[in-house]
């Protein structure tokens, strides 16, 4: 057992990149303000000094060019990590991701093993353009993989796996968790969390709640509340990966509990819960004792004012209310 150190979610991301860059000189990072400045959230602080300007590349403000260059470098056998300063700014790179990276292997047999990562999510009063959850903009695109860690261990382990993966991986890190989530992690020890494998965050037999990313904590809080007040045991599944999706884990849990609630921070309409719902009705319909329900953000842009954003975002009370409704069904 190696020594443990308290590691924030943000440090876990930093450690995953730094350790992978030490292990493998094909790994490099490019993006805006990541070198001299050390990253808008200081994730890559010290990287330029340690790894040099060849591997820590400050780019112009040009997301399409950043992702495009990452694709080309991946074709050449390098392992690029492209940082979006905020995941909202992935939009200018949409073409590169959806049409170049995602379709590359299918069309040409040449893969594009790259990671595109950036801060997503709301709760920090950042308004419509620095708060989005963009997974559903991409989830319909075959060829892309997608992960959304909630814990520090998963932040590190999924990023390591994503860097090593031969296909393009979108890595959504929730900025609200950056410094709020901490965990004891082994120093300098390799953590790899395989893509496509969900994690049971809390075991239970009465209701399954499937969630991921920033919503894990509110969901877990609601589950504890219900255990304490209602005596019901909620099973909380943290998906970790959205694509590939661990359908087996979801289905197994639903077959056990007979009830499913899906919680995500992105808007409800066309959100990822729809896909999970379809999977479960295809694979576990006969085991369901209640309709599948979801709790997600309002179908609006992310508003700025505190009162509006709090109303927009799913809250613990919403999750608890939905869970109770399902338990009582």
């Amino acid at each position: 057992m190696s020594e443990l150190r308290e590691t924030t979610y943000l440090e876990a991301i930093r450690d995953a990149m730094a350790e992978e860059m030490r292990r493998d000189d094909r790994v490099f990072i490019l993006g805006e303000d990541i070198g001299v400045y050390g990253g808008a959230f200081k994730i890559t602080e010290g990287f330029l000094q340690e790894f040099g300007a060849d591997r820590v590349i400050d780019t112009p403000i040009s997301e399409a060019a950043i992702v495009g260059a990452a694709i080309g470098a991946a074709h050449m056998g390098l392992r690029p990590i492209a940082e979006m300063q905020f995941i909202d700014f992935i939009a200018p790179a949409f073409d590169m991701i959806v049409n170049f990276a995602a379709k590359s292997r299918y069309r040409t047999g040449i893969g594009a093993g790259l990671v595109i990562r950036g801060p997503c999510g709301g709760g920090s009063r950042s308004g419509p353009f620095h708060s989005q959850n963009v997974e559903s903009y991409f989830v319909n695109v075959a060829g892309l993989k997608m992960v959304a860690p909630a814990t520090a261990r998963d932040a590190k382990g999924l990023l390591t796996a994503a860097i090593r993966d031969p296909d393009p991986v979108l890595y959504f890190e929730h900025k609200y968790l950056y410094r709020r989530v901490k965990e004891m992690l082994p120093i300098e020890e390799e953590i790899v969390v395989p893509l496509g494998v969900a994690r049971t965050h809390r075991a239970g037999s009465d209701l399954t709640i499937v969630t991921y990313g920033g919503m894990l904590y509110k969901t877990a809080e609601a589950a504890e509340l219900i255990a304490g007040e209602d005596g019901a045991e909620v099973e909380v599944i943290d998906l970790r990966s959205l694509r590939p999706l661990d359908t087996d884990a979801i289905v197994a849990s639903v077959r056990k509990t007979g009830r499913l609630l899906i919680v995500h921070e992105a808007s409800e309409f066309g959100g990822f819960a729809g896909e999970i719902t379809a999977q479960v009705s295809e694979h576990a319909f006969e085991w369901l004792d209640a309709p599948i329900r979801r709790v997600a953000a309002l179908n609006t842009p992310v508003p700025y004012a505190a009162a509006l954003e709090d109303y927009y975002l799913p809250q613990v009370d919403d999750i608890a209310a939905a869970a109770r409704w399902l338990l009582a069904y």
Binding site: A40, P60, H130, L308, A328
Partner: protein, 333 residues
């Protein structure tokens, strides 16, 4: 310029006091570019300021109270608490606001100019972007289209040396940003962005050209971002000597010197400062007394029809099929 600087200072104070959350992208040291250029437009013209062009908003007639309302997320703000920073789209004032994704604004302003062309109106559009924003694909496309179509647009490239923590030398290989402007095949010119009179003169020439069918002009404002990107950035990467050099070129000091030379008295100038301070004091008091938006307003205005407002989340409204959440849990046996 005094109003711009004073307003931004108030916003920083409000941030420290917790009346607003987020970032204020200060235009300290760059006020002359936004202010001088906006004065070159007339009624009916449209202006699309970027986040560091507070001065242009005010010249255009935006009420400082509306700025304060938006930053402090009042329910009375023009955006009803939904958006933040300097994002103001106000047709009556000929204002097209930016969105945060950089470089996009010019593309949309092109459409405003197209409308002027189609309606045979001799109105002009003006916009601004940082040298950093000018590297985006959207910006390049916006320039290409406006130039090719000969649209009546004046674009300021605000070369303030920094894009967040990245020096402009890393944003482009051009030494002189006039070269970056010149590549689109339209008239381009460098301007001392800290000289409000020079800015006005250059803007006026370009606006007149656009108004008389001469198409787009790109003006490069040579200026300097005197503070960090926003409050979280202590700009440790900037050399103090460089700041010192640019402090000596402060646009307000220079304007005051010109006015004094032209005969303005110290008392007159102090009077202006006092008027500005009083206006801001009153505006802050007034706005802080106004209420935040109601939570439920988050659902509105997504579409034109109120019928399409976002639904009340089912967990907060009457629960379907049950008329309420069952009082106790019935576990399966």
């Amino acid at each position: 310029m005094l109003l711009t600087r004073g307003l931004e200072e108030r916003l920083e104070i409000l941030l420290k006091q917790g009346h607003l959350v987020g970032s204020i992208y200060r235009s300290l040291g760059q006020e002359a570019t936004a202010v001088g250029s906006a004065f070159a437009l007339g009624a009916g013209d449209w202006l699309a300021p970027s986040i560091r062009d507070m001065g242009a908003l005010l010249v255009r007639g935006l009420d400082v109270r509306d700025v304060l309302r938006q930053y402090t997320a009042r329910g009375t703000s023009l955006c009803a608490g939904k958006d933040n920073t300097n994002h103001f789209t106000v047709p009556e004032l000929g204002l097209l606001g930016p969105i945060s994704p950089l470089g996009t604004q010019l593309c949309v302003l092109n459409g405003v100019a197209l409308a002027f062309q189609q309606r045979r109106q001799s109105c002009v559009c003006m916009t601004y972007q940082g040298e950093g924003a000018s590297r985006t694909s959207a910006s390049h496309e916006g320039f290409a289209l406006a130039a090719a179509l000969g649209l009546p647009i004046v674009v300021w490239l605000e070369h303030n040396r920094w894009a967040f923590g990245t020096p402009s030398s890393r944003e482009s290989a051009v030494g002189d940003w006039l070269d970056a402007a010149a590549m689109y095949g339209v008239p381009a010119q460098s301007v001392d962005g800290n000289d409000v009179v020079a800015v006005y003169a250059a803007a006026r020439t370009a606006v007149d050209r656009a108004r008389t069918g001469g198409g787009m002009t790109i003006l490069v404002a040579e200026t300097y971002r005197m503070l960090g990107h926003a409050q979280h950035d202590a700009q440790k990467y900037v050399l103090e000597a460089e700041l010192e050099q640019w402090r000596a070129r402060d646009p307000i000091d220079r304007c005051v010197a010109v006015l004094s030379h032209m005969g303005a008295s110290g008392a007159e100038l102090d009077g202006i400062r006092r008027t500005v301070a009083a206006e801001l004091d009153q505006a802050v008091d007034e706005v802080l007394a106004e209420p935040p938006p109601l939570a439920d307003d988050a659902r509105t205005r997504v579409y034109a029809s109120a019928n399409l407002d976002a639904a009340v989340p089912w967990t907060r409204g009457p629960v379907p099929g049950y008329g309420g959440i069952a009082p106790h849990v019935r576990l399966r046996t």
